[in-house]
């Protein structure tokens, strides 16, 4: 009897501990930190098995990182589940040790460190951490070009500007710590907020979000009520995997902008048979393909076209399909029937086949690729929006708008669409992952982007011929594709949870 009691008690204690831990950002970030670092360390030790000094060095650093993070994580677990129910200041100081590992590419530790150092973390602080991380990481990745024989003529200019931008981010982070922990941000924070919004020009969406969150809070008239979209972002940032997904997507977006300055395009497309099929080294981190082009540089430049095609070919059908779906759902009857039956016909043709047929008819080019991928997606979005609109159109506020004499257009665009956006946003996010995949698939088949243009599917195709002899040429673009699709999916998942009213 006593035995069962203690068993139950232990179970209960475990549950309590688990609940405490899952609420602790320090714990979730540091756990993933040591797990990923250990996994990467194993991979690097595997690469180092042939005695490569470079890989051994990297593997050793990651091993240290994993061990350090593991020790810190254990400390956090002990303290959070212990009497104090909180992480001690001494442990928080250890967070500083984790930050430098970002310079060897381990951004998990950087995030964990930042989350550990500060006791009080609001949304703005998190956003400024990620924003800073993006700019630091761009410099770290660009610095790999130093091992190359030549750098782009704008390389140092780019590094300089991004160094400056990182400093700016750190300044904003300080301002965040000073001015944003009240109910609403201090007036002094406004210039920093505007600067942050401008970060969007560099692809740094974190910085942009930071800016508009601060502005949104500042200009919110009713202080007692939280702004809803800010709440959504806050909920989104509670999901660590979604943050990582977002970070990777936004990093690739930013590096697409940064590569204009810090990477040499010639290395990505000019043939250089002296280094044909070269193995990975510091000079060519992912090796060289059969034309002697640096696979790493190609992947960096490939991000640009993959993301561009992926985004446009998701947003385009979303707009067209959304419009058609809204009209069909709102008016119903014959119009609904006509639109939806036409779209059903479109939906009956498998998307990728439709894309192949369109490209075969119009010829191979990036514009045709976007077009062919977009057309196949229309019916899916129309269906989602229509279902949503059907639900919203019967609600009282729409009735009220009608009674007030609002025009149909006003009702659709002012009342119905904003209230049916949530599932569409999630669908778009998830859709981008599969659009990147489709782009790569079509390029792999030789009907996407022209073969010499760096695009992930193209790079993978070039590598597939050498799977047996030089597997790295295919492995790295393959991993890149997997990571970006995973990132979009994690992000989409997080967004779905954040938008779900039941999970508020």
């Amino acid at each position: 009897m006593a035995n069962t009691m203690s068993k139950k008690e232990a179970l209960y204690a475990k549950k309590v501990a688990n609940r405490k831990l899952s609420g602790s950002l320090e714990f979730t970030t540091s756990r993933l930190g040591y797990q990923v670092s250990a996994a990467l360390a194993l991979v690097f030790w595997f690469f180092a098995r042939k005695g490569s000094v470079m890989w051994m060095g990297v593997a050793a650093v990651y091993t240290v990182a994993a061990l350090l993070q593991y020790v810190i994580c254990k400390k956090i677990v002990k303290e959070v589940t212990g009497e104090a129910n909180a992480v001690s200041p001494a442990t928080r100081k250890l967070g500083w040790l984790l930050l430098p590992f970002v310079f060897v590419g381990d951004f998990f530790l950087f995030i964990a460190g930042c989350m550990l150092i500060k006791n009080n973390k609001n949304l703005e602080y998190q956003l400024s951490v990620y924003s800073t991380l993006v700019s630091i990481f761009i410099i770290v990745v660009s610095m790999l070009n130093l091992f190359k024989e030549t750098q782009a003529s704008t390389f140092w200019l780019g590094i300089g500007l991004y160094g400056l931008y990182t400093v700016l981010n750190l300044v904003v982070m300080q301002a965040v710590r000073k001015y944003t922990f009240g109910k609403k941000p201090d007036k002094k924070f406004l210039p920093y907020a505007y600067i942050s919004v401008a970060g969007l020009a560099l692809g740094n969406v974190f910085s942009f979000l930071l800016g508009i969150v601060a502005l949104g809070k500042y200009y919110n008239k009713n202080e007692e009520v939280n702004v809803e979209w800010i709440d959504v972002i806050r909920r989104l940032f509670r999901n660590y995997m979604a943050c990582i997904g977002m970070f990777i997507v936004i990093f690739l977006l930013s590096v697409s902008v940064a590569s204009n300055l810090t990477f040499e395009y010639a290395i990505a497309i000019d043939n250089n048979f002296r280094v044909r099929l070269a193995a990975p080294s510091l000079m060519y981190p992912f090796g060289c393909d059969d034309y002697g082009r640096c696979v790493f540089t190609r992947i960096i430049f490939g991000a640009r076209i993959s993301l561009l095609v992926g985004m446009i070919s998701t947003i385009l059908p979303c707009l067209v399909g959304g419009m058609l779906g809204a009209i069909a759902g709102y008016y119903g009857g014959k119009i609904d029937n006509m639109i939806m039956r036409c779209l059903d016909v479109l939906a009956a043709v498998p998307g990728i086949l439709l894309a192949i047929a369109i490209i075969a008819a119009l010829g191979v080019s990036t514009v045709n690729l976007i077009l062919s991928l977009s057309i196949g997606g229309i019916s899916g979005y129309a269906r989602t929006v229509r279902a949503q609109v059907l639900g919203v159109a019967n609600q009282e506020f729409v009735e009220a708008a009608k009674a007030c004499g609002a025009k149909d257009g006003t009702i659709i665009f002012r009342h119905i669409i904003p209230n049916s956006l949530a599932p569409v946003i999630v669908r778009v996010t998830m859709g981008m992952g599969s659009a990147v995949l489709s782009t790569s698939s079509l390029s792999y088949l030789g009907i996407g982007v022209e073969a010499h243009i760096p695009e992930w599917g193209n790079i993978l195709k070039a590598g597939s011929k050498f799977l047996e002899t030089n597997p790295y040429i295919a492995i790295f673009p393959g991993i890149a594709i997997i990571i970006i699709v995973l990132s979009f999916n994690f992000f989409g998942d997080g967004l779905r949870d954040a938008l779900d009213p039941k999970l508020k």
Binding site: W156, L164, L170, E264, A266, G446, E450, A451, H452
Partner: protein, 602 residues
């Protein structure tokens, strides 16, 4: 806060200092500044690698390059005919091993494959002159042709000459039985198993990429889908050796001789080759001798354009004036051999054990052991020694007269409609089950065909007493595998016993297995590019062509193919030692581009 700003300023200064000292990757050059010139490259996706290297070199030479990569040969032809290109990548394989074939079709104004088209009287004259000369004299003419064609006029853009690489399973097959001819298709009758017990039971599997066999009538096609098949199904009166020397091995002739003046050719026929046919899914000996009248019929058919409206090979045989059976032995004694000056009969007798005692036109009277032979004489319109190469081509395969007429007499040759009429060798019908249509004179008889492959059985009446040439392996299967990568995998997995062509990038992996042997040799396959010479094209300007020509670096192509291709100057180069070597010269390229744009004068 101030500290941070100070730090930031310090960093900015540091970075800008470094930025100023940053090196540039662009090199300065002493070239003439030219206007940007756009070059459109047309290529099939199968030659994507070549197109990419070409693109790279041209853009490094200062051209703006547009790529037009099309999925198949049909689209390629369509784009080319529409003139939608400046440079089009293509290739040529001289399957007969003689220079005339290497140049007439692609450079002569009447050539079927002269894509540019090159319309230059001097080129035509040189080709016609070379055709009439003996090998030694022709070499000079052909060298002159190459100099004019490439060096002087830059009509063609040489890329590289391929190497022929095949792989076989050395635990299964003997090395002695494997031949790797430079030009002609593989010799099936020579293959032999290491373990002779396999001969009658095990099916030997070969592979080819195309399942869309165009025809099994030798004269109606000359393409990769049927060359090997037709070449082994039908015997020829002469053969090419591995190195393109004329030989009688595995041919219908014991010996041959060239009459004085190089316009008459005599062939002394064997009497131990019978036609085979398919009965109940097995090859049987018809007992019908492959005789002189079949040879006369088949060669007349090959040279006559009017035989059938789908005739594709008459241009190879149009040099023949007359084919006849010699019955008068005195003719052999009076005509002199062009090489030795002795009587023809002496040359012919050197190839047989029993000397020629009598000649006959009647099949039943033939008896080589008793000295009764058949002789076929070919007369050419003018001195044309290269006719022998064409007679060794698969299109000169010997068919059975009555069997062909059984089908082809039912319609008029010039109004033949493939959708309505059934002609001899119609592959769709053979695939549909009409295997009894084919009477094969070669070492192997087709017994079954479908979408996956063709089954062959050895011809029991093919030189059965001749140990050297009688086929030893009874069953053979030609498996269709669409792409070379899959074919390579199938070979490595043991599903295929002989791999006809190995990709340059797969050689190392295939050789990695000790049971595989990869044979490599030079070939007559040349990859080159044609210029758009249609009126209005910028490539009609010789300076523009030269600007492109000098931008080409063949070393890159060699490097890309792991050294398994060779530099080349034109299709002549693989057959005649011309001494021409192409070298990249960007300064010359730039100079010619400036000339083309009128920026400088000579």
């Amino acid at each position: 806060m101030k500290k941070i700003i100070a730090l930031a300023l310090a960093m900015v200064m540091a970075f800008s200092l470094v930025a100023c000292g940053g090196g540039s990757s662009k090199e300065e050059s002493e070239l003439i500044a030219t206007n940007p010139e756009t070059i459109k490259i047309l290529a099939q996706s199968s030659s994507e690698a070549n197109a990419n290297i070409l693109r790279d070199q041209l853009s490094k030479a200062g051209f703006t390059v547009e790529m037009n990569t099309v999925p198949d040969s049909a689209s390629w032809r369509q784009q080319r005919e529409a003139g939608n290109y400046d440079i089009a990548l293509t290739g040529w394989t001289t399957v007969t091993g003689n220079v005339d074939y290497a140049v007439r079709g692609i450079y002569h104004s009447t050539g079927n494959y002269n894509y540019g088209p090159i319309l230059d009287e001097k080129v035509d004259q040189l080709i016609d002159k070379g055709a009439e000369e003996t090998a030694a004299n022709a070499a000079v003419t052909y060298t002159e042709l190459e100099n004019y064609l490439v060096t002087e006029m830059a009509y063609t853009l040489p890329i590289y000459a391929s190497m022929k690489m095949m792989a076989y399973n050395n635990e299964l097959l003997t090395a002695e039985g494997i031949f790797q001819p430079k030009s002609r298709p593989g010799r099936w009758e020579m293959y032999e198993y290491v373990d002779a017990a396999n001969n009658d039971t095990r099916k030997l599997t070969l592979t080819q990429t195309s399942s869309a066999v165009s025809t099994l009538d030798p004269i109606q096609a000359n393409d990769g889908t049927m060359n090997t098949l037709s070449g082994n199904q039908y015997i020829k009166i002469i053969n090419l050796s591995d190195d393109d020397e004329i030989m009688t091995d595995s041919s219908l002739s014991h010996a041959y001789a060239v009459g004085e003046g190089n316009a008459t050719y005599y062939f002394l026929l064997r009497d131990d080759v019978h036609f085979a046919k398919t009965e109940n899914g097995a090859a049987v000996d018809t007992g019908v001798l492959v005789a002189a009248d079949d040879v006369v019929f088949s060669l007349n058919r090959a040279k006559d354009k009017e035989t059938i409206n789908t005739h594709k090979t008459n241009t190879l045989h149009e040099h023949m004036e007359k084919i006849e059976i010699v019955t008068d032995i005195e003719e052999l004694k009076t005509v002199k051999d062009s090489d030795t000056g002795a009587a023809i009969i002496d040359t012919l007798n050197a190839g047989v054990e029993v000397p020629v005692a009598a000649l006959t036109a009647v099949d039943e009277e033939v008896n080589n052991a008793a000295g009764t032979y058949q002789v076929v004489k070919v007369t050419t319109k003018y001195a044309f020694p290269q006719v022998l190469n064409y007679l060794a081509h698969q299109s000169a395969g010997i068919l059975h007269k009555e069997q062909v007429e059984l089908y082809n007499s039912k319609f008029d040759g010039m109004s033949y409609d493939p959708n309505k009429d059934i002609c001899y060798g119609d592959y769709a019908q053979v695939k549909g089950g009409m295997t009894d249509m084919l009477w094969c004179s070669g070492p192997y008889q087709l017994i079954k065909a479908d979408d996956y492959g063709i089954e062959y059985e050895k011809n029991p009446g093919y030189m059965p007493e001749d140990e050297r040439f009688a086929p030893s392996i009874k069953y053979l299967y030609m498996k269709f595998i669409k792409d070379t990568t899959s074919a390579t995998s199938a070979f490595r997995a043991g599903e295929v016993d002989i791999l006809g062509s190995v990709n340059a990038n797969d050689v190392a992996t295939v050789e990695g297995d000790a049971k595989n042997t990869v044979l490599k040799r030079s070939s007559n396959g040349v990859t080159y590019a044609v210029f758009n010479l249609l009126e209005g094209s910028k490539m009609t300007d010789v300076n523009m062509r030269k600007a492109v020509l000098y931008a080409i670096n063949q070393d890159d192509f060699v490097a890309y193919n792991n050294g398994y291709v060779m530099p080349v100057y034109s299709t002549v180069g693989t057959l005649v030692e011309t001494g021409n070597v192409h070298a990249q010269d960007l300064v010359k390229s730039n100079h010619h581009l400036a000339l083309a744009q009128g920026l400088v004068t000579e």
